[in-house]
Structure formats: structure tokens, C-alpha cells
Symmetry: C2
Subunit: 166 residues, 2 copies
């Protein structure tokens, strides 16, 4: 079955780890939807979240390959699990001056924040699920979207307590 | 001068682009602080934000190399520019039951959100600058942090309007 998988990988901070992991996906011709890599509580480790559209069998093989890398501490495919998923976006919009108020209303409805404002344009910060973010991007389209930066998804299993806290 | 650079790269969605770019940094022995890659308004393009500690001269060479890749549409080093920078984190904490209220107070002070709650633990969502996130992580340390997922930084220049809207 081809579906969207969210994979969390805990890796050691060593040169080339990211290149090697990205290479595993590239070698199979997968197009990565989003990828984030950032630090953890432990300075020697980084946590990656990778979202990829893939068939279950091929992905299982990649997960096994990831697990075999000496730099991999833990890898988990969240498919079918109950998880919290969130993404952050920044949007720069440049509405006509008389339409600024409409933009502020949209931002309020979606519980976003205006994080920069100047005579020409404004920058909006918002977090949410994929659906919510798609909805605000759509709602802001008539207001001259100049720039969009997405963090990519981060995710965490609900409830479950890890054996090894990170 | 060695300092932290935030680089924004707009790339074509092709297999192996991420692996190639990560490889450029790995070849120079750079340790990437954070990296995010996500979609843009244009389905054929992705935007990457890379944060790396590097000396200016070496980084300038990498930026030039990035710019020469046929898959690169635009690359920009934000160093010295006035930018909005934000990161998203999810934190799972498992406080003693009688200390849950203290956790809720901290979340409120930092304007975070509790996005999951069950008898064992809770998941907190928060966005902000590096300093703010470091402060809340520190404040939550006494409450048994189980898991931490960071999106990595995303960034956008203030005010400036792009020639080619994305």
C-alpha cells in the first residue's frame, strides 16, 4: 500500500550522517515530502523527522537499512500509530493597504501571529496540522503571498513513554 | 570570522537534491546545526533552511557551489541581514501528578500550547527564537522531559520583497 509515512530517526552527530540518510532515500527514487533535523537534549544526538510517500514494503527495507547504520540510535515509522504532528510556517504577504484588516482577521481565526509588520508587507507565523496550514495558505492567496517557508513536520507518539528518554 | 549562518536555498524537486546538498556540507566537515526542507507554493520547488556554524570564507565558497548546482533556483546567506527566525518544538513531559499545575503555568508564561494530555504525560507545542526555546526547555527540566522534537529554524528577511515570489 502506498501511503504517507512519518519516520523519526535518532542519529549520532557525525559528519555526513544526513548525506548518507538522504542518499538512502534518493537511491530508491523516493521524493522526500519534508525533512527536519535538529538537536536533542543530548548534544551528541540529533533527531530527524522524514515524511515520505512510499509503499509499505519498500519503506520497511529502508527502515531496516537506517537501523543498520552505526550512526543510528533508533528509527521508528509512525505509520498507523496515534501521533501528534505539527508544522510551522512563515508567510510573507503584501496586501493592498485597505485589505490589511482582512488579513488580520484571517490570522486571528487561525490563531496565527503577525511577527513582522512594515509599510510594505507583513510576516505571519502559524503552526498546525497539514490541513489547517493548507487552509490558511488558501485563505491568504488573494492577499499577494510573497514568500512561504515551511519547517516540515515534526511528530511524537501520544502517551507512549520511551524506554530511553531523549 | 566563525559565526552561525542561516542559509535559505530554493531547489527543484528532484531525486537526490537533498543528498547532494548535504554532501557539500559534509565534504567540508561542517556539522549542520539544523536543516529543514519543505514544499513551497510552487509544487516543483522546495525551500531548505540550513543553520551552520562556519567561517565566512568557507561558507561563501559553499554558497557559490550551491548556486552552481543546476537544481538550485536561488541561495541566500542571511548573515548580517534583518530576519525573522522561528523554530517549533514538541516536548513530552511526565510530571508528578501534583506538579502538573506548575507545568501548565510554565506553558502559559511562554505562550505554548498543551496539544496532548493523558494520565501519564503531556505534549507541549511551542514556537520562538532560539533563546526563548532554550528558556522553556530549561524551565521544564525538573518535570521529567521524555522526548524533544525540534523543527529546526526557518527564516525570512524582514520587509524585503522578492523579485520572484515563491
Amino acid at each position: 500500500m502506498v501511503r504517507r509515512h512519518t519516520i523519526s530517526v535518532l542519529v549520532e552527530n557525525q559528519h555526513g550522517v544526513l548525506a548518507r540518510i538522504a542518499g538512502l532515500f534518493a537511491a530508491r527514487g523516493f521524493n522526500i515530502d519534508s525533512l527536519t533535523v535538529g538537536r536533542t537534549k543530548d548534544d551528541t544526538l540529533s533527531r530527524m523527522t522524514i515524511v515520505v510517500l512510499a509503499d509499505d514494503e519498500t519503506l520497511e527495507q529502508i527502515v531496516k537499512q537506517l537501523d543498520r547504520l552505526v550512526t543510528t540510535v533508533r528509527v521508528e515509522d509512525y505509520v498507523g500509530q496515534d501521533i501528534v504532528e505539527r508544522e510551522l510556517i512563515l508567510l510573507k504577504v503584501q496586501p493592498e493597504p485597505e485589505k490589511r484588516n482582512e488579513v488580520f482577521q484571517i490570522v486571528e481565526i487561525f490563531r496565527g501571529k503577525v511577527v513582522d509588520l512594515n509599510p510594505r508587507n507583513l510576516v505571519i507565523e502559524i503552526t498546525g496540522s497539514e490541513g489547517k496550514l493548507a487552509a490558511i495558505i488558501e485563505a491568504l492567496k488573494p492577499y499577494n503571498v510573497q514568500e512561504l517557508a515551511r519547517s516540515g513536520k515534526i511528530a511524537m507518539a501520544r502517551g507512549k513513554t520511551l524506554r530511553d528518554p531523549l
